[in-house]
């Protein structure tokens, strides 16, 4: 898939680190993440709760209250402009217009006292100085775009009159109102039933194709990732441990954590009971993260170096030469000095 063949990234994040001050000390929620989002792609950011995936993107959206939050270092360039350090007023012009966001729980994200039509229209009026009549016309079109039946009568209803799946469609319509370049979808289907999840994922895919918008899908569900993602970034303990195309990540995972995750989830096509292998232990405490690799304590192939030095992002060879996406793995096993016997744990785990 040549989705980013020589193209410039829309969003370029470099070494972003975010901390939260608490009574118990500071939590290092995001610890130096770097990634790109290319035009028209679906990038899935996968990780378990507390790995920093939501905080990363809330920081980009300017949604982290500071204090207690604090961007320690890093940059996030959207079309050449650094989002980090922008004032609230400047951020307001970008939020909703260039960067749209939808959340897990559509009921608490919508205003219960406003009709959905007014909530969608508000974005259009605010960012485009459109008249009420124009905004209403546009709102109807958006409701049609997100496939809400009978939009003419639904436009004047309140959020509680909609089901969970329909509310998520409303959220998507609000996010799309200004045709953002990047739509950040934070666990958009986690609160929904599986048949409704299928409908919303199909809608996101269709929108991404039709209006050529980049989508960042934040999720913990590898099934959802496999269904829609072009590229994947795997996060663990505030860091990105592996990036690559969805095909590569699933067929040839190159980080022991990714390998572990894949063995830990059930695959109904390989329904052998012994096939579910847990990752022992639990993620590290981010009040005082370990000195070396954050996964070392749970890693079956940890070496001496892993516990004392954090691994850099090693470029990993891609099997499919048509695949031009960057492929990195932050694991010492990819260092040339790593013993091959251990390296096989990652390279041959899925063959």
């Amino acid at each position: 898939m040549n989705y980013n063949d020589g193209r410039k990234p829309l969003l370029e994040v470099r070494d972003l680190a975010v901390e939260f001050a608490t009574w118990g000390g500071s939590v290092q929620a995001v610890r130096g993440v770097s990634f790109e989002v290319f035009p028209g792609e679906i990038l899935a950011v996968v990780g378990e709760s507390g790995c920093g995936k939501s905080v990363t993107f809330q920081t980009l959206m300017g949604l982290i209250p500071c204090p207690p939050g604090k961007v320690v270092r890093g940059s996030a360039k959207l079309g050449g402009r650094d989002l980090i350090g922008l004032s609230n007023r400047e951020m307001e012009k970008i939020r909703g217009k260039d960067l749209g966001m939808i959340f897990q729980d559509p009921l608490t994200s919508l205003n219960p006292t406003m009709t959905v039509g007014n909530q969608i229209g508000e974005v259009i009026r605010k960012h485009r100085n459109a008249s009420s009549a124009e905004a209403r016309k546009e709102t109807l079109e958006l409701l049609r775009l997100v496939q809400i039946p009978e939009p003419e009568s639904r436009i004047d209803q309140y959020p509680h009159q909609f089901s969970g799946g329909m509310r998520q469609r409303i959220m998507i319509a609000i996010a799309l109102a200004c045709r953002p370049q990047v739509l950040i979808a934070d666990e958009p289907t986690t609160a929904l039933d599986v048949t409704i999840q299928g409908q919303i994922l199909e809608l996101l895919k269709k929108l991404q194709r039709e209006i050529n918008m980049a989508v960042v899908l934040i999720t913990h569900d590898l099934g959802v990732v496999a269904a829609v993602a072009d590229r994947v970034a795997v996060m663990y303990a505030g860091e990105i441990v592996e990036t690559g195309s969805a095909e590569e990540i699933f067929a040839r995972p190159s980080h022991p954590y990714t390998v572990g995750l894949q063995h830990a989830i059930p695959n109904p096509l390989r329904p052998d009971r012994g096939a579910i292998k847990p990752i022992p232990g639990s993620p590290p405490d981010l009040f005082s993260p370990p000195a070396g690799c954050s996964f070392a304590a749970r890693c079956p192939s940890a070496m001496d170096v892993c516990t004392s030095f954090g691994p850099p992002a090693f470029a990993v060879e891609r099997k499919n030469s048509a695949d031009t996406g960057k492929r990195y793995s932050a694991c010492w096993l990819h260092h040339q000095a790593a013993p091959t016997s251990l390296r096989e744990v990652v390279t041959h785990a899925h063959v």
Binding site: E48, S49, S163, G165, M166, D193, V194, T195, I196, Q197, G198, Q199, L201, E202, H220, D221, L222, G223, V224, V225, A226, A227, A229, A246, E247, F250, A251, G260, L261, Q262, H263, A264, I265, P266, N267, P268, L269, P271, D272, R273, A275, I276, K277, P278, I279, P280, S282
Partner: protein, 322 residues
């Protein structure tokens, strides 16, 4: 492999009264058996009544109608307290949310020993030893006994919940979404623990879940619920690999497989619409408004569960009656 029936459910219904003449049919005329030693998966989307059914089996709710038998004994209706006491010991429950299901003001030791204490199962001398045994059996440390729930992670709390349920030495354990609040890497730990304990303690599980893939992998049989009714039941393999009911087919179709190669090759037939209201439901098949194969008959006559394939696979659909 299927042995005697531990639980026999016949035409069981639970209707909640919302207002005069307005009843929510949470569970409607469900018939289902749970065999001794098996893991029966109960799947369905939110609001389908799967948790209500689980709570009826453990007698947290009294049924509106129908009969319920446990180990051959009729336990329908209200039970005398002495019988109830005896029954409650044999059926235990593991809850979804490991945060709200443990009393924050009790130590782990008291949480685990609460049931045995109430039944006088353990002598004073034994108590600490038994608590340590169960803590270690579920993968925690004996020294954790005097700690409080807030000192543990979600996965560890779920282990405490499992220890609490198993300390009663039950026959049947109702696992109501036991892993859906846990992280992926921890889910597998809890699943493997439940499986080991099942073998060791000869337990029967009713595994209530919405994760179709997990049910396929861990359960012997699976029952699919839609709007208060069982639409299909059979071996997990048959139901997932050869679904007969249009709703089961839709569920399997929508279930994402963690493999992009499979996902790419798949043409999804998604069903439209959403689950309708369980309040005063219309006669006929509950799935009819969303069914791609709906016929006139479906809107007037409720289909009954009947055998659809050799073996024990049964489904409730007019299409499948020959």
């Amino acid at each position: 492999m299927l042995t005697s029936k531990l639980v026999e459910i016949e035409n069981l219904s639970k209707h909640f009264r919302l207002a005069r003449g307005k009843y929510l049919h949470a569970v409607d005329k469900v018939s289902l058996d749970i065999f001794e030693g098996e893991t029966l998966g109960l799947v369905g989307e939110s609001g389908c009544g799967k948790s209500t059914l689980g709570r009826m089996i453990i007698k947290l709710y009294t049924e509106t109608e129908g009969t319920l038998r446990f180990a051959g004994e009729n336990i329908s209706g209200s039970m005398r307290s002495s019988r109830r006491r005896e029954f409650s010991r044999k059926v235990q429950m593991i809850f979804q949310d490991p945060y709200s299901s443990l009393n924050p003001r009790m130590t782990v030791k008291d949480i685990i020993a609460e049931g045995p204490d109430a039944y006088g199962l353990w002598t004073g001398k034994e108590r600490d030893k038994k608590v340590s045994f169960w803590l270690e059996r579920v993968g925690l440390h004996a020294s954790h006994a005097s700690r409080y729930p807030h000192e543990f992670s979600g996965g560890q709390r779920q282990r405490i919940g499992i220890a609490r349920a198993l300390a009663m030495e039950p026959k049947l354990v109702i696992c109501d979404e036991p892993i859906s609040a846990l992280d992926v890497s921890v889910q597998a730990q809890v699943i493997n623990l439940l499986r080991d304990l099942q073998v060791e303690q000869k337990l029967t599980y009713l595994f209530i879940a919405h994760d179709l893939s997990m049910v396929r992998v861990v359960c012997d049989r699976m029952a699919v619920m839609y709007l208060g009714q069982i639409v299909e039941v059979g071996s997990a393999e048959d139901v997932y690999d050869k679904p007969q009911h249009p709703y089961t087919q839709a569920l399997v179709q929508a279930n994402p497989i963690p493999d992009p190669a499979v996902e790419k090759a798949r043409t999804r037939r998604l069903i439209d619409g959403e689950i309708s209201s369980p309040v005063n439901p219309q006669p006929g098949c509950r799935f009819a408004p969303r069914c791609p194969h709906v016929m006139d008959k479906c809107r007037s006559v409720s289909p009954l569960l009947h055998e659809v394939a050799p073996g024990l696979q049964r489904a409730a659909c007019h299409l499948l009656v020959h």
